[in-house]
Amino acid sequence: MVDNLIIPLLKIVIVLNATLVAVTYMVLLERKVIAWAQSRLGPMRVGPYGILQPIADAVKLMIKEDITPTRADKWVFTAAPIIAMVPALIVYAVIPFGPEVSLFGRKITLYITDVNVGLLYVVSVTSVGVYGIILAGYASNSKYPLLASLRASAQLISYEVAVTLTLVSVILVAGSLSMVDIVRAQEHWHVWFAFIQPLAFGIFFIGGLAETNRAPFDLPEAEQELTGGFHTEYSGMRFALFFLAEYANMIVVSSVATTLFLGGWLRPFPNVAALGFLDPIPSWTWFLIKSFVFLYVFIWIRATLPRYRYDQLMRLGWKVLIPLAIANLVVTGIVKVVLAT
């Protein structure tokens, strides 16, 4: 009973809440980091150094008037933010934050579940999240959101192909689809897969930027072109859901990248004994640090780069990333066969 129901439920509650808090503070982090990049201070008023700003934002968004455009498709308009938010949250079910730990004399795994097809689960669930954006654009019955959702659907499909192909190369190396097994494989090989599969790592990172609609690929919400894109007509809490979904997706991408390429919860250089003094540090700390670095780079890129144009984005996806990913996959397969014989 305790093992089958209460502990998983507790884990779900903890992960869900931690994620939501992380997401709101991610917004603050982004504002702060960009502000520092731009020689500003960022939010400073709410709490010391603006530390309570996310709470103020949440309150503001909740008490804001929730507007539904008169001629919008009301059901779809309401459903779209939920469709965007839910997949972003249920992905965390398979992300391993750490290995087994013993707590109060009970072995507890630091992940909600470990399914055989974990990685595919991540990919397929996030691919459903696209509907939030597409339907938001359609349901608003407005031209800017419509253009944005056309952009979003094309962009997400194209980059999903490239990202999935890189994942296949990782699966080939690890020999498993389970997220936990992939980390264990990196432990077994004594090396992070980022070093074995540097190309896949790069493509995954670029594709991750594109799939989360982050700069320089933030076309579906390009404020300067499409006045906010798919969420132009949204306000209040529904807008906030989109906002949260975007940041939750960022965290998902960083977590997946950490798991697949940076050794998940493993400490740096797991094979170097000289770094053994790092072992007492809890494994989930490493996971969080690595994910944080990813998120920081996401924000850093946003502060630095201009935005790609739609056709250039598609060209990059189809003519550069997908061929590279396929080549990488083929080479990986050949090497694996050669090494096996």
């Binding site: 779809v76 097809v117 595919l120 459903v128 509907y131 597409i134 359609y138 999903e160």
Partner: protein, 170 residues
């Protein structure tokens, strides 16, 4: 018992959404119901202990193909004037008889066909691999290699055809 309840609930949802897909007036709603339908079919696969198929169902159909449907539906303005719906070429009777014929056919298969006794399950013992994903892979590349290759050839041809059609200047 629990499994039966789950199956019939899922089946009811699947059929209900399928009816909604064809009966809804708004094309985008129709596509949405199709997505829901696919998700429930995926749930059915989970129930059948085929998680790999379930995930692939969501990834390929819900996440990929239907997005393309939506893309086309939104790009091509299908909201026509009401009189356009009264299509003089509509063959309501023909459609009805066709549907009836399919129903009869299905009934005949159910009644007289070989009783499906899950031959795949018996084969698992012969397979050197365990786990759902590995079994699917094994079957695809051994017993069903030729259908698999034919399907991929078909897709390749379709893809080339699409490129030829879409590219205006060649």
């Amino acid at each position: 018992m629990g499994q039966a309840i789950a199956f019939y609930t899922l089946a009811a949802f699947i059929l209900g959404f399928a009816v909604l897909v064809v009966s809804t007036k708004d094309t985008v709603h129709s596509v949405l119901f199709l997505v829901l339908d696919f998700l429930f079919v995926a749930a059915l696969y989970v129930l059948l202990a085929a998680p790999f198929l379930a995930v692939i169902q969501v990834l390929v159909y819900a996440g990929g193909i239907v997005v393309l449907y939506l893309f086309v539906v939104m790009l091509v303005n299908l909201k026509r004037a009401p009189e356009a719906h009264h299509d003089p070429h509509r063959r309501t009777k023909l459609g009805f008889w066709l549907a009836a014929a399919v129903l009869v056919e299905l009934g005949a298969i159910a009644a007289y066909g070989p009783a499906a006794s899950a031959p795949a399950v018996t084969q698992t013992a012969a397979m050197p691999v365990s786990g759902n994903t590995e079994q699917v892979g094994w079957l695809l590349y051994t017993s069903y290699l030729i259908p698999f290759e034919i399907a991929s050839m078909l897709l390749l041809v379709a893809m080339i055809g699409a490129i030829v059609l879409a590219k205006r200047e060649l």
